[in-house]
Homo-oligomer: 568 residues x 2
Amino acid sequence: MEQISPQDITTMFLALAVLLGSAKLLGELAQSIGQPSVIGEITAGILLGPGILGGISPHFYAALFPTRGAFPTVLSVVSNLGVVFFLLTAGIEVDLSSVFRQAKNSLVISALGIVVPFAVGAAAAGIYPEFMGMEKGANAVIFALFVGVALSISALPVIAKILMDLSLLHSDVGTLILGCAMLTDLAGWILFSLVLGMMTTHSTNFSALKHTILLTTLFVAGALTLGRWLVNKILPVIQAHSTWPGGVLAFIFVLTLGAAGFTEHAGIHAVFGAFIAGIVIGESPHLRRKTRDHIHEVVTHVFAPFFFVSIGLQANFVKEFSLALLVPLLLVACVGKLLGVGLGGRLAGLDQRTSWLVAFAMNARGAMEIILGLLAIQTHLIQGRMFVALVLVALLTSLLAAPVVGRMVRSERAIHLRDSLSSKLFLPELHSRSSKEVIREMCEMASEAAGVPVDSLFPPVWYRERNSRTWLFNGTAVLQARAAGLDKPLVVAGLQKRGVHFGSRDEDSARLVLLIVSGDTRSQIQLLRDAGRIFRRRETVEKALDATNFVEFAAAINAPADEQEAAA
Amino acid sequence: MEQISPQDITTMFLALAVLLGSAKLLGELAQSIGQPSVIGEITAGILLGPGILGGISPHFYAALFPTRGAFPTVLSVVSNLGVVFFLLTAGIEVDLSSVFRQAKNSLVISALGIVVPFAVGAAAAGIYPEFMGMEKGANAVIFALFVGVALSISALPVIAKILMDLSLLHSDVGTLILGCAMLTDLAGWILFSLVLGMMTTHSTNFSALKHTILLTTLFVAGALTLGRWLVNKILPVIQAHSTWPGGVLAFIFVLTLGAAGFTEHAGIHAVFGAFIAGIVIGESPHLRRKTRDHIHEVVTHVFAPFFFVSIGLQANFVKEFSLALLVPLLLVACVGKLLGVGLGGRLAGLDQRTSWLVAFAMNARGAMEIILGLLAIQTHLIQGRMFVALVLVALLTSLLAAPVVGRMVRSERAIHLRDSLSSKLFLPELHSRSSKEVIREMCEMASEAAGVPVDSLFPPVWYRERNSRTWLFNGTAVLQARAAGLDKPLVVAGLQKRGVHFGSRDEDSARLVLLIVSGDTRSQIQLLRDAGRIFRRRETVEKALDATNFVEFAAAINAPADEQEAAA
């Protein structure tokens, strides 16, 4: 077997260093102006790409990112591993029970979220093909289908990253959005394979697709039933009989690589398998928080950026840029998606505000569109300028998504944690160290204050905890409960200086426990965000723990807001 | 830029899943029989290689690991990234101050550890070239030099892994071995480039090497002075102004990739740069334990196995196997290295036992030999059978190293923690929560009991702590001090239920603190191992913490030994 040359290895390491460094730098910059870091990472790629860096210094560009030798394959390998492992962590974060709880809504929203943009896109491309960038001699039907599919696929990785960056992943609306994105992607991938088959055979023969659809359905159904059961059986065995966390980490990565290989083989993209593998793994109550953290940190901060930054290297964003193509494509894309998802949201019974929030989040596009675009170039259906326009549509819709969603979440008069606390709901010394007893104690207090039966509060909170879903950080555990009809949210705060054991037995324990009870999505999200912001500071937690009465506790969390903002 | 085909992607994911899964499975098996996991990982590669799996089922082998298409490059990329990141974590674990403290010893040992095996190897190959596997028509001088270098290079990654697997990395002898391995490797790499230059030009012109030697020296000197200073300045800035630990993780990986690219460019292997980068990063007191853990876990359990397992795929270990070549090569390799290092150890003033321990550890060979072998094949200096013999020498010497070193460490009457504790040295309630005060308090007790001045105990322990070198796990902190002439080691144990802040400010704190004071290396190693074994169990720590007097404390750590063995 051949080794790559020392020259290739030098190039590989230096290029990867430049890519990762630039991606993180711009990612951090993006975050500092309130955008998700993924926007910065994609932008870094465009700046380093053939159009901009290649235009400024062609010699340096060619030396750094050679188009000959092993480098293109290296980049492809690293970016494929990056996106696959990123989808693994996104999958782990998905709370399947919440997705199922919202299954009806997700189905309605994603159905309309695919059909409408597909119809709008295909119609626009069918009626005005030249205007939408069709090349001479291409098959008009296939082109129209291509545009329809390209504009209807959502970007699961980008959406997941935006939700993570905005700390929305654990909220109900975050789960709804992720559920919709998952379903949209599933349908999108099947449509994608269909169009791909037509593009490569230059014909419209559907029979070859049966295979893909069958395998995909079997895979998803098998993974979520038998797969879940097996993982649940195997994880504790591995944790007991192998070095920890090494054995578990390897098991998770092997499973992910296998699932990715399978779905790629089945004709949908590898990332889909990795995502489903992540969900299955994340659902197991045996997965320990530390294992999850190790994967999450290294993947989101080192692997994922490689994928996002490498997009920009795929085309010349200066030479191939065409405003005349970008504007109509962007308009058609946004109109179709926003209308479809918004309508779906209303049909599913969401209020208007939440419908728009979901619609703008789902409007973000990304990887699949770009991969589809690359394949379309190879089969001469489109040319470089259409590819560049597609990437820019992906980037601009994603750019739009984060601030709009962020603003919607933040707008109106903010609800603060401190306003929802009260001396009646403060427990300076929790009686028990077991999570079950503590949850029951706090739910009982909340039930009295909210005037709802404790049986409607305790079971869902305890279910989350039993499935390792309690949000733990910095010695703080945040529990959430919903109480329909509650017009003002309330927060129970409890201290247990010896620590309450949440999660599996050898996890970090929490010394400060919060139970957020809310009647609506908005206040739940805001209180979660506020709790995260306040208790991210170790000093605040320490001060709060030293409190012996409510006044001291309130003072501890009431440190000057700008000081805490700066720390966050 | 070209994308690799969906077929290539499928192969890549499935092959990587098989490689990682097999490597970890055999790695765990190896560990369960007392071998370091790296032996299992290399063996897995040989089993999956063209000789064995390829012999049993050529069709399946060719489908899983195709030699055409993108797969060879994929494997090369993944294994290169694996070994580079592994050397990063090995570097992070190196405690430079201990290396410097033992610099004289390391220098003497590594000088003899290179010169003797080089001389023995080159002489054997010069006198009996056919016997040692030279091909017809090859340059006899170059061949002799090649064998000399191949047998004198130690395997830094393998040695680091063995030391990690045997929990010896933090002991003095572990540091000495790693220091020697580092120096041997540095010299080995320079010799390597020299022979490489001669192999590729088929001449013995030394002038081209000046460049490599100069760049390497500049790099090492610059990294350990200016580099350390810069990292120390930059790390806190990144930790303050970026998402944590994302920004730091990315910074570390960028630095590592850059250093790897630089040393590869300079003509020594990329792993050397990564190793030096790791040392520089690990030396910074600003590096937090969590960051270190995230890197360590994912790298040693997911990346490193890819490198070790991929070695076996590089040759046909059945067809190219030659016992007539393996036996003399192995003998020459072992005799040269053991004699050289052993002699060096004695000259440096080590006792005979420790000299042998260091010699057997340094006798482990690995990656560089194999890479040198691969390059020698490409330049027709040797053929497949010599390559296979070299890999087997690497494997067998490594196989020999772990049990011999492990047995030497374990043999004689074991020294147990419980025998070194006493009621006089038990502090049920430490006065302070600051690490400095606690360390002083414990050192004062130890100084009285051992009859040595406190000034000889406190400064080194406090220095280690200030440089984030205190060994922390499971809420237990283990401090070490040396007291020359102490014939029986003693252990001070202290409890602080509110936690003592070791490490940087937001680290996990320790509630149980041990100070091991020993007069010799052997008892220090054994007590460290015993402490690790006992307090690895969460239950033991909890029980020990509930102790209010020495009898209860002793009972807590005196749980049946076999029960604790099973847990360890």
